[in-house]
Symmetry: C5
Subunit: 322 residues, 5 copies
Amino acid sequence: MLITLTGYDPVGAWTKSAADTKEIASWKNPSGNTWISVEGLDNPDEINKLAEFFNIHPLTVEDILDITQRPKVEEFNHYLFITLKDVDFSEELGLEQISIIITKDTVLSFQNKPNDHFDGIKKRIMNNAGRLRQAGADFLAYAIMDSIIDEYFTIIDSFGSQIEVFEDRALDEKDNSFIQDLQELKRKLLKMRRVVWPMRESLSLLIHLDSEHLSDKLNPFLKDLYDHIIRAAETVETYRELIAGIMEINLSAASNRLNKVMKVLTIISTIFIPLTFIAGVYGMNFSNMPELDQPLAYFIVLGVMAIIALGMILFFKRRKWI
Amino acid sequence: MLITLTGYDPVGAWTKSAADTKEIASWKNPSGNTWISVEGLDNPDEINKLAEFFNIHPLTVEDILDITQRPKVEEFNHYLFITLKDVDFSEELGLEQISIIITKDTVLSFQNKPNDHFDGIKKRIMNNAGRLRQAGADFLAYAIMDSIIDEYFTIIDSFGSQIEVFEDRALDEKDNSFIQDLQELKRKLLKMRRVVWPMRESLSLLIHLDSEHLSDKLNPFLKDLYDHIIRAAETVETYRELIAGIMEINLSAASNRLNKVMKVLTIISTIFIPLTFIAGVYGMNFSNMPELDQPLAYFIVLGVMAIIALGMILFFKRRKWI
Amino acid sequence: MLITLTGYDPVGAWTKSAADTKEIASWKNPSGNTWISVEGLDNPDEINKLAEFFNIHPLTVEDILDITQRPKVEEFNHYLFITLKDVDFSEELGLEQISIIITKDTVLSFQNKPNDHFDGIKKRIMNNAGRLRQAGADFLAYAIMDSIIDEYFTIIDSFGSQIEVFEDRALDEKDNSFIQDLQELKRKLLKMRRVVWPMRESLSLLIHLDSEHLSDKLNPFLKDLYDHIIRAAETVETYRELIAGIMEINLSAASNRLNKVMKVLTIISTIFIPLTFIAGVYGMNFSNMPELDQPLAYFIVLGVMAIIALGMILFFKRRKWI
Amino acid sequence: MLITLTGYDPVGAWTKSAADTKEIASWKNPSGNTWISVEGLDNPDEINKLAEFFNIHPLTVEDILDITQRPKVEEFNHYLFITLKDVDFSEELGLEQISIIITKDTVLSFQNKPNDHFDGIKKRIMNNAGRLRQAGADFLAYAIMDSIIDEYFTIIDSFGSQIEVFEDRALDEKDNSFIQDLQELKRKLLKMRRVVWPMRESLSLLIHLDSEHLSDKLNPFLKDLYDHIIRAAETVETYRELIAGIMEINLSAASNRLNKVMKVLTIISTIFIPLTFIAGVYGMNFSNMPELDQPLAYFIVLGVMAIIALGMILFFKRRKWI
Amino acid sequence: MLITLTGYDPVGAWTKSAADTKEIASWKNPSGNTWISVEGLDNPDEINKLAEFFNIHPLTVEDILDITQRPKVEEFNHYLFITLKDVDFSEELGLEQISIIITKDTVLSFQNKPNDHFDGIKKRIMNNAGRLRQAGADFLAYAIMDSIIDEYFTIIDSFGSQIEVFEDRALDEKDNSFIQDLQELKRKLLKMRRVVWPMRESLSLLIHLDSEHLSDKLNPFLKDLYDHIIRAAETVETYRELIAGIMEINLSAASNRLNKVMKVLTIISTIFIPLTFIAGVYGMNFSNMPELDQPLAYFIVLGVMAIIALGMILFFKRRKWI
């Protein structure tokens, strides 16, 4: 468990770390805002102490500790609680739950595993880049959500390139694993969808929530975020339709290949089976087979065979099989 | 029919059993809350007496006795009526209807068959664990619903592991029973869905119901429950899509297998049928077949056969069949 | 055309029949409610006279006479008009339109063909069973609707058992008529759906309608009816999904069967076609075929043939075809 | 361009034609209502003059002249504008746009090509049949819409009979054109749907529009129309599902036929290919083949062949292929 | 970066170009409206100066510069911001983002690449055609949106003709590329849909927005635009269904072709394989085969073969295979 404290006001900024909540009373930034970032949730006692200090509802603490929560927004008297999913660009599409509590002058963020997704925000605060230092705690919360949702687009774009690769392979790929890989991608897409869709509702709620913890100035920024998440949601839906289309191309190509294989088999069989029969007839050993003794019979039979073969080929030509 | 009475207040708790409603007048807990848990619904007379004592509407009694009810919430003057489904983790996904009546200081719960799903709540009351003893009757009803919905997740998780097993088998399974088992799972999922979806509406109604039987303090807990049920509903939907995907993988694998079988058949037939025809020709017994007497004819014919076979193999190679 | 009059009040009840509206002025029950049940709609004049007497809007009369109406509820100044479908449990799922007009103290019901679906209600009135005699005209209308909707469940349950039969046959049935029968059931289900769905809206409207023709006491009963119809609608939807699943099982089983047939064909052909070719070669009649005169050649060839056959079998074993 | 004027009041009615708008000032019917029916829209100047006289908004004129408009209702200060599609019962499902303008005492209707769909209304006005002469201009507009929507049902019924024919052919039809014809019907159905659905919204809007151009008395009639259009829309949806079902029957029947063809091929091949191989072995010309000289060998071989054939037949019987 | 200034009032109009914002203070048209059209967004500094001058929110500037925005409408205190997609009728369906800012007397439009889509509007202003010169800045913005949405119909119509071509080829096309091209068209349709659908919401918002920047007179025009976009959206949906239908025709035709190929193979094989077997039997070299020496045996065997062949043909006739 690592607690990172970042205090800032328009004039200056400082940052320090703590491993527990012993000195919590000294954490507040009297003249400005504080960001208390907690990484590691395996120490519920410390989280509870933190919650007690900030007067957090026990259910919120439960939601923070249960990392399978659905993204949501909840307003309490003293604070606003937002939980959402940070997506990790890994093989398995790892999800990290980020919980954010917004009070008047403090933002608390909670996550289980440390990562570097919010380093950019910390740098911007320390270097006074952008408007973070000038704005309130709600703007910091917005900045965190914004950096998370930006990550979504990286993931979704990578889905897009994977889909293009699948599209290129769809016609020629005969291996079973193709469909399985495609289904795997679809499963990731479904997972992503369950990350993105609830965010839609959450952001729509945040925009229309008349909360004292969100200043009016933040509204255009939240609307912007909302537009991004809608775009992400729509892209995910489009990708699902594209995957269904790739599946159709692949199945249709397989069926076409089968058709061609069957045609070759049919053409060869249909031409030679009757000819082989004729040869078989004149290979019989009956003592009285008058044709056998005709001097030209052999050549006549060969001619008849050639005519039959040509007739078959013409028949196939007319049916446009060859 | 077994009636279990549990009385409690912040100071103490007691529990006793009854087989009928004769002493019903003495059941009320003057200083606290009472939980009257009825197991076994095959004695409508006793249920009616109970209902009369608590001034329950005849339609509510009908709903309690008809165990095929759809989950719902209904507000009456004197009480709040909630009916929902307890799910049994058995082969056949057994459903047990739980009906809950919330009055000012009493919770009545009705179920047909006894089970141990609510033993944990009883223990928590007796041992004064959690906040049950401190809270009102509405919180007890919440605890009952919470324990039921927790059970849903056990079931849904078991569906999840079954789906994973199906996914692993999807490519190689050729047996008809695979699809049938998958459809069976889908049917259970549909059943589960009909349990979960109406709960969504019920909980949404409970949250927005401005009832005197639900204290404001309960609202965050109901919202929490609502989030859980939404998550359950979304998982069920995702599983349906995964099942459809497994079906597609299985069908596509079957079609690929057919393709491969046909290719082997076609390659063998196409190579040997013409060669057999040639052998047949020189097996004919015509008296005048000049080739037969050429000393090298046999070897020339064998060579021609080899060339034809090689040609065929090259043709298949070019078509990427082998 | 048969008009059945049933008058009742908490004290007593009488019933009589009429074939026309001549004595209509004497039909009203001064102290209680009257149920005027009209069976047979082929005499518009009489219906019009009835409508005139009760001050019914011409459009309502049109709706009563046009028996292809969609179920609906309409409120007029003097009365409430409800039209719904009675379902007949026959081969063809016959629909009978029931129109109900509720005035302050009179219920008029109209249907085209006589049937015995409402005999139970008549008996309950005559025998003073249930609360019909004590309640107002609106409760009678509710009882009629209730008995119709109960009938829906009989039909839907019969669909359920048919679906189970189809499920059992799905794997083994190879006949085309299977799919056709299944589609026939689906068509009936669609028909049933068009009966049930509009009832949802109608009942929701009735519940929220603040009409003077519906007493407040009726509301829980209407809500109960609404729950029933929702359950019916959900069951119909589930059945549609089950039918789609049965179709999938059947198609997949057919495809598996084809796969197995093809495998048998391929195995037999692939083993014997090369062997037959070899036999054909040594059946040729060339004068110079040195192998033919080797004393052990025949047995060597038989051995080679056995080795080829075994090789093929091993190949198939490795591919898990046999 | 043909302008037909029909003036009427409860006392009398007259009709006359005009080819242009020169005498427009004299068209108004001082004591009653006037219906100005314009057929032919290729003379925008005259339409503009008409619009100017009645104070019509330029956008309404544009909508009248653009005959690809989507059905809609728009309220302006001086009038109500309705545009909808008249359907022609022809091979190609021709659509004719009808635009209706309702003012206090005048109805203007516009259409591009003349047809006889509204002759019935004209007759009813002239003969004082029905309530047209007694009612206001809004009722005339209703009558026009009613006659158009009645036409929809003719079309939809014809779709219904076509679907029945397709259903009867679904099992046996092997021709590609079957699917193509079915898709053609589906396309017409989609076209019809785009005619019917917007009418739903339009009529719903008309019912809830509190316009001075629609008297309260018209409301039941509009509701009736709304019920009709809902019924039409639902029928169209049901037909789409039926068409999907027919497709499934046809595909499944084709797949069953293929299965049967393959079985015949497999049975014949599997029985005779091994027998032919045996015959081939004993047709080889090796000098040392001891069996050939056994006097009973031929009959033993024939017997072995018969046993193999019987074994195969038993194998197929056990697999239920024959 | 090219800035085109167009000033106009009912009396006159002028136009001039600028490459930067140095003289921005002189751009306003004191007595009328000004259209500032910016082409080329690669110079954010200049855009920022422009934004500063017109008091534009930084987020709006971000939206203008990020050309992957989703179409939307946003109202700010000083202006109304609209962003939408111009569609390019090219192979790849290029999208150009057009951002429009409406203030009291100025319209600013931004786009990245120059094109001639708005030349018509400029001409109409200069030549005083239509009502542009008489109307306010909002009407100019409407005219720009109108010309963009008109372009949508050109694209959608071209999709329509492509679909017709696909429909004609659906039955006979055997090439894999057919399905791939169809999927490509579907992908373009999905892209178009993501352009059209958000416009629906935007226009609906504009109609119901009670903004001071939109005069009441504009409302009918916006409603008209809304109807157009609804029509476009519905056409796109219909096209998606048609594409699914074409896919079905193509697959069904392929399956029918396979059926026919298999039948030919089966008929030929089934007739000749048994005959070949018989010929093989009498080609065996057993020393004791009594039939061989019967003088008529050969002709009897030929007769038997003919009878078997005829029997087979009759069998196929009865099964309606030939």
